[in-house]
């Protein structure tokens, strides 16, 4: 496939198992557009996902895919990327998958700065399991599992990522499609861990954070916003309420994890021959 002749159609068109009106459709559409704009052909991309409505996304386009366990997309992506630093690795995840079951890997991926783009469809709920609170559900949010409302404070993923000085931290809204496409392209270009937390209405289970709710609040960052200003980014990341700023909140440069391993510079590990002479030397040193 010649990347110049790539079209949207190359990413395919599939029947989904999502509810009509779900915010995931907008993300899927933006994702394809961003891949196209970035010139990433299906075979050049490896999606890694977990389990949830969000995590089904890569089944609905053409690309390489490893759809693994709930919450464990990041470690799989990290292993894949270290083993083959020539392929673009994108993680598709839900708020439950990424910040609930997978919370520990989230922290580690940021620390490693592994070159993986993590897209989190953040509907502030566990949707596939029929509507329990997720880590990003707001305090007081009522579900069948939390009949008196959520009693813990909501996890603010972008604030934690900025506090940890993650390489690329963005918040988006599926309802602002073009904006999302733009941020995704920047995320794909970023050489290191890139978090894009995408607000996504779940029309079946989240009757509070609806399209309208997000639409009324989400506003792109001003053009002169400097994502390299950590203080400002921390402040912006903490802003959540009547106004929710969306865009690239924070960006910092630093080598990606894999670039620190000389052996990764030589292409995929599996394609490198086993040096039996070297091994013999190593073995005989035990003599």
């Amino acid at each position: 496939m010649n990347n110049d002749s790539l079209t949207l159609a190359d990413y395919g068109e599939f029947e989904t198992a999502w509810c009509p009106g779900c915010g995931n459709f907008g993300i899927l559409k933006a994702l394809k557009e961003a891949l196209l704009a970035a010139g990433l052909a299906p075979h050049q991309v490896l999606f890694v996902s977990g389990i949830g409505q969000a995590a089904k996304t890569p089944h609905y386009l053409k690309a390489n895919l490893f759809n693994g366990l709930h919450g464990r997309a990041l470690p799989v992506a990290t292993g894949a990327r270290l083993a083959n630093p020539t392929i673009k690795v994108i993680v598709e995840s839900g708020d439950g998958c990424m910040y609930g079951e997978g919370g520990n890997h989230f922290l580690s991926a940021i620390r490693r700065n592994i070159n993986v783009t993590a897209l989190v469809h953040d509907n502030q709920i566990y949707a596939l399991t029929k509507g329990q609170a997720s880590p990003t559900s707001q305090e007081g949010f009522v579900t069948k599992a939390q009949p008196h409302g959520v009693q813990a404070s909501a996890f603010n993923p972008v604030a934690v990522a900025v506090a940890m000085k993650a390489g690329f931290v963005a918040r988006c809204f599926t309802g602002l499609g073009d904006h999302l496409v733009g941020v995704l392209q920047r995320a794909f270009r970023h050489e290191g861990f890139a978090l894009v937390d995408i607000l996504q209405p779940c029309v079946s289970f989240n009757k509070v954070n609806t399209y309208k709710w997000y639409k009324d609040r989400c506003a792109p960052l001003p053009a002169d916003y400097d994502p390299h200003d950590w203080h400002k980014a921390m402040e912006t990341a903490e802003t959540w309420g009547d106004r929710i700023p969306v865009g690239v909140l924070f960006e910092s440069d630093g080598p990606s994890y894999e670039s620190r391993f000389p052996v990764c510079a030589k292409g995929s590990l599996g394609s490198q021959p086993v040096d039996l002479e070297a091994l013999k030397r190593i073995m005989l040193a035990y003599g």
Binding site: L46, N67, L69, V76, N84, H105, L269, G270, K280
Partner: protein, 560 residues
């Protein structure tokens, strides 16, 4: 002169007794002796009581003995704790002159006079070498090689301490018989189980390892990382065991031979990943280095109690293979085989070792690196067009491509999936996919390593064992045979799958069958019964955290 004897070095953690032990063991090997090392240590960094026991012999030695011929006591506690197991007739204690502890037949070493006390290890080494009649040059060279990385002054000081100690001990009349001269090839390696396992993985072409530190598995990874640059592999310390196994799976999917290693508690966290490896048909080698449980148990001791856990770990049903190396050579060979089998069957393959084997140094001839594991495999299936990761095939094995290596899209799924790898809820397809995965069992059953039998045609007493007990089993049987009993041993280095045809006649043919295991409930005996219907007549079980020894087995047979 003695053909074999047992040296035990005892002292506190932090006194450097592993350094001393390894140098002494290496000196034995380089002097043409065979050795077998057993280490015991506590879960602490300083203090407590650790031992480094070397069984040394002119002929190959298979197991630790409970009796000590030469006890090197780096502290008084060592004498108190081990005096009872000194051989009655002629056991000797090497101890500092300054110690006031009563120690029977003794060599009291004037440490302070021989060198600066910080070279205590070198002094002890020189003394023991002289006592047992090793060549001073061999010992000095071993010490120099060991301290070679440090500055020249340190090397020289150690050498001088060895020399002074050797001279002193050689000049003083000693209450100990020397070792008979030996003639094994000096071109042998001294390796412990984890080192051999790491070499096996490298020989198999491992390119990616992920782990979370856990005794006694950690040193496998430390051995690998030490050679990572030279061998072109990545060894990643993960944030937890769940990440470790998932990283290894990701790397394997992306085309690298991958491995992870842990112990029981860490493995518990990996069981979901085991199931993932099976469902996505991603090759994976998993080392479970056993230690006593449940829970944290005894972190630095040995046990064989994870057989049933590893055999059934992971939800759902899928084929797997489990190897349990019984020697250093098997640590190397079976690791290489595990990789080949994981690749061939596209799923999880296990190596079940334990702390005893992991830390047990032995002398072995260098491995042949050119050969590889020989497997009986089905003819490769023709490629499908378009490419389907899970194409239905006669063998159950579908062509595995590496994502990004070509235009074909590689799709793997943890949900039930169609041939392309996409999620499905088609229940007829489900049935076919289950059958496809289970068909791969044949690759495993076609390649079972039969247990090794030793003994006469029909044994009066047949001892069964698996994994690290191989040597103890052999030596116990040898003792009993020497005493005129007709004893056979049947040792399993592969514990799953099992083929009753490989062993059932032996079991039926023996007058009495006893299973010897390092656990409290006889897990392998149960498995034998499940698979063959044969009810093992008796058991010798050990679960105090120490390895099985010939004496323990013989005594256990008397009791039961």
């Amino acid at each position: 002169m003695k053909d074999t004897l047992q040296v035990v070095i005892g002292g506190e953690a932090g006194q450097g007794l592993v350094t001393l032990g390894e140098l002494l063991a290496k000196s034995f090997v380089r002097s043409g002796y065979h050795i077998l090392v057993t280490q015991t240590y506590m879960s602490r960094i300083r203090g407590g009581h650790n031992t480094f026991a070397i069984r040394v012999g002119v002929a190959p030695v298979d197991a630790l003995r409970e009796q000590i011929d030469l006890l090197v006591a780096l502290d008084d506690d060592t004498v108190k704790l081990h005096q009872a197991t000194l051989t009655q007739a002629d056991g000797v204690v090497v101890i500092a002159e300054s110690s006031t502890v009563a120690a029977g037949r003794c060599v009291r070493v004037p440490f302070k006079k021989l060198a600066d006390p910080k070279y205590e290890n070198a002094i002890a080494l020189g003394v023991v070498a002289a006592l047992l009649g090793l060549d001073q040059a061999v010992v000095s060279e071993a010490a120099s090689a060991y301290f070679g990385g440090k500055d020249a002054a340190v090397v020289e000081a150690n050498r001088a301490a060895v020399a002074a100690a050797y001279a002193w001990a050689a000049a003083t009349p000693q209450p100990i018989e020397k070792l008979a001269p030996a003639g094994a090839s000096p071109a042998r390696l001294m390796l412990n189980g984890n080192e051999a396992l790491a070499l096996g993985a490298l020989a198999a072409g491992v390119k990616f390892c992920a782990f979370y530190p856990m005794s006694p598995a950690t040193s496998i990874m430390l051995n690998l990382v030490a050679h990572a640059d030279e061998m072109g592999l990545v060894v990643e310390q993960a944030e937890d065991e769940i990440a470790a196994i998932n990283m290894a799976i990701g790397a394997s999917f992306a085309g690298s031979r991958s491995m992870t290693a842990t112990s029981g508690g860490g493995f518990a966290l990996m069981t979901e990943g085991v199931s993932l490896s099976a469902m996505t048909e991603t090759p994976l080698v998993i080392v479970v280095a056993q230690r006593p449980g449940p829970a944290t148990g005894l972190p630095t001791r040995t046990e064989q109690a994870e057989l049933e856990f590893v055999l059934h770990a992971g939800h759902g049903e899928f084929p797997r293979a489990i190897f349990a190396p019984g020697s250093i050579e098997e640590c190397f060979e079976l690791t290489r085989r595990a990789f080949a089998l994981a690749e061939a069957s596209q799923g999880p393959v296990f190596l079940l070792t334990d702390q005893f084997l992991a830390d047990s140094h032995r002398d072995v001839p260098p491995f042949n690196l050119e050969t590889s594991a020989t497997l009986t495999l089905p003819a490769p299936e023709p490629a499908t067009e378009p490419y389907k990761r899970y194409a239905f095939t006669a063998s159950g094995v579908s062509q595995r491509l590496v994502p990004g290596a070509g235009q074909e899209l590689v799709v793997a799924d943890s949900d039930e999936h169609d041939e392309q790898g996409h999620i499905t809820e088609n229940l007829a397809l489900r049935v076919k996919m289950v059958a496809k995965r289970l068909r791969k069992l044949k690759i495993l059953t076609d390649n079972i390593l039969a247990p090794e039998y030793e003994g006469g045609d029909t044994a009066e007493l047949l001892l069964i064992g698996w994994g690290s007990t191989k040597g103890a089993l052999a030596e116990a049987a040898a003792h009993m045979r020497a005493a005129g009993r007709n004893v056979g041993t049947l040792h399993f280095s592969q514990i799953w799958p099992l083929a009753p045809a490989h062993f059932l006649d032996r079991l039926r043919g023996a007058r009495r069958v006893v299973c010897v295991e390092g656990n409290a409930t006889g897990q392998f005996a149960r498995l034998i019964r499940r698979e063959s219907g044969f009810a093992v007549g008796g058991m010798v079980l050990r679960y105090d955290g120490l390895p099985l020894t010939p004496e323990y087995i013989i005594e256990g047979l008397g009791h039961e």
